[in-house]
Subunit: 157 residues, 2 copies
């Protein structure tokens, strides 16, 4: 099936973008990935109003990327923080590939604002493309994009 | 430097999202990656108005993700198609990581709409995380996110 004959509504890229296609979604996921878990911390760091952040966090909880976890400081009432669900944690390759592209094409002269290190050995972590035969794949030029088992034809127009 | 003390304005993720953070940008890049190069082909496949597509393509050319290439059919005037620049081609790991997340969490029961194959051997291509010591990294849980050389403190408020 040619790509222009294929119904785009079940494309995995599109399906992912339906959930994370607004930039703020990935920016909030980044904040939580970097260890900011409390509403006020995230609000201050992203410099966004409480009303806006509250609505966005609700959406991310609804999309099951974040979940609320109760915490309590001495002498205060119980409040809720946020942590990534497993579904949210699995966004990490998307964040890292965005970071690498952004750092390559738009970094400050001083270099990346963040580094990602392998906790076990301390070496920098990068995105790689590999095939199931174990070959390293350099990029799009070495890849064939084909219709998959879920491909459907567009309805005749 | 703690993340909440760090100025977010030069984060690579944010810098990338400034360019590709609108879902339509990556969807048009996907169309061109799949071999649709002509305005009318892309317009029909994305089911978008000519005015909207024209404005979006202009933005992608301005962002240097796409470039215009002239083509001419027999007996017709020269027209322009679109192809990825090297900067646009380097978005491929972002597209593939979105596809993998979308397919994992939101695919149709029939399976992925698209498969990415290594042109040389035909095996499926996937995103992997590797460190510079050559270790495979399973995910975010094995990664430490730290301030990099370009990290700046937030201005006192």
């Amino acid at each position: 099936m040619q790509w222009n004959e294929q119904d785009i509504s079940n494309c995995g890229i599109g399906r992912a973008l339906e959930v994370v296609g607004r930039p703020w979604a990935l920016l909030i996921v980044r904040e939580v990935s970097r260890g900011l878990n409390r509403f006020d911390e995230i609000q201050q760091h992203l410099a966004v109003s409480a009303a806006v952040l509250s609505r966005r966090l609700d959406e991310l909880v609804e999309s099951r990327l974040l979940e609320r976890v109760p915490y309590q400081e001495a002498g205060r009432r119980t409040r809720h923080g946020y942590r990534l669900t497993s579904r949210g944690t699995e966004l990490y390759p998307i964040l890292l590939s965005l970071k690498e592209w952004g750092d390559r094409h738009r970094a400050d002269p001083a270099g990346p604002a963040t580094v990602h290190r392998h906790a076990e050995c301390g070496a920098d972590v990068h995105i790689a493309l590999v095939c199931e035969q174990g070959h390293r794949v350099a990029g799009l030029a070495e890849v064939e994009l084909r219709s998959g088992p879920g491909a459907r034809s567009v309805s005749p127009r």
